[in-house]
Symmetry: C2
Subunit: 193 residues, 2 copies
DNA sequence: AAGTATGTGGAACGAATGTTCCAAATAAAG
DNA sequence: CTTTATTTGGAACATTCGTTCCACATACTT
């Protein structure tokens, strides 16, 4: 019965995500979004709701995409310690490839909105927990296999790792220099030894 | 000859800074600023230039204020290692007192603007260098006095410390929990041992 | 006391904001 | 072929945006 949807939803979300990523939530206008996606205002509102709803869709799109990439990066190894090392090597690579210096959409959103937007705050917290949980699992396994010393609890190390990751996105935005980032990772991961 | 200025410049800058800090640059309107400072639009423009100029003034005001506080916090000791430890203890305290969860204006500004605003990007880089230089100096002295192992270069450790600080502002914005932040600091500073 | 230079409040500006509305277009169902 | 359901483009909306302007208030100089 209905006229078919002419656009690819994933493509639109990708374009919108890139824009929010580059200019932030408040820095991005609906006009920007129509231009970037090629959709008219009515199509955007009809398919994705208002600006805030679209933004939440983009955040979730971004998160699932990031998770997929990270899992793919560490997929090659079974050693939990190597997974951690590969993960950070991968993150540094991503930062160095970020030639627009847009950083991490999740970190950007944390600083821009988590204190004034409850819905965003909840999502940020969920993601933080998920990341920490992932790191904690790897650390726990690594400690059981004797790859990592048991000086600190898996939870404490996991929080440190996530903290280091968040910091890397800030450091990388100020000066995306391979040597600097490698140094940070080297020192930060030395606590595992 | 002229009518005197009726307001206290530092007070106005403080109010404006608080607002930018809480809502971000793009999230703060000139209307917000007139209400918060009590000044009329024309007074604001006459005394501080346009919105962007005022923002830059606020950033510098914030930085000098932060530096003063940090120096005061570590002023009591002559041991460079203790300075580092006290500095991080102080930072955690600041984060826990930040009941609005506004984070760090400098970190917030880095993620919001450093990729699209060259003037801001320059200031961010200057501040990053200054902070790293400060840490590096302390580490160098501590290594010379045998307080810190020489496993890593002062530069690498300094970058790690600043990275940890930046991360703490993100972590603290997601979940400002004393135990979590203490854990992060404990693990991150263990590389000094 | 008059002149003058500057700060102040508030109105006013055009442009941009997020959102809504409607007529036209389209494709499946009857 | 007509009907029906949905998407689409673009005009239109009120509101807010950053900024400018001007008449008035004020305090120093002469």
């Amino acid at each position: 019965m209905p006229k078919e949807v002419l656009f690819n939803e994933a493509t639109v979300l990708q374009k919108a995500t890139e824009l929010f990523w580059h200019k932030g939530y408040n820095g991005t206008s609906m006009d920007d979004l129509t231009r970037a996606t090629g959709l008219s205002r009515s199509s955007l509102y009809n398919s994705f709701g208002d600006k805030h709803s679209l933004f939440m869709r983009c955040l979730n799109y971004y998160l699932s995409d990031q998770e997929k990439s990270l899992m793919q990066a560490v997929g090659g190894t079974s050693s939990p310690l190597k997974k951690i090392k590969i993960a950070f090597k991968y993150m540094v690579d991503v930062i160095l490839r970020d030639d627009k210096r847009d950083g991490c959409l999740m970190v950007n959103t944390t600083t821009e909105l988590s204190n004034v937007d409850e819905e965003v705050g909840t999502l940020v917290l969920q993601n933080t927990d998920a990341m920490e949980h992932l790191f904690q699992q790897w650390v726990k396994e690594a400690q059981q296999q004797g790859e990592i010393s048991k000086t600190f609890t898996p939870q404490a190390i996991a929080k440190h790792l996530f903290n280091t990751y968040s910091g890397l996105r800030i450091s990388g935005q100020a000066r995306p220099d391979k040597k600097s980032l490698d140094d940070i990772v080297k020192v930060a991961l030395s606590v595992l030894g």
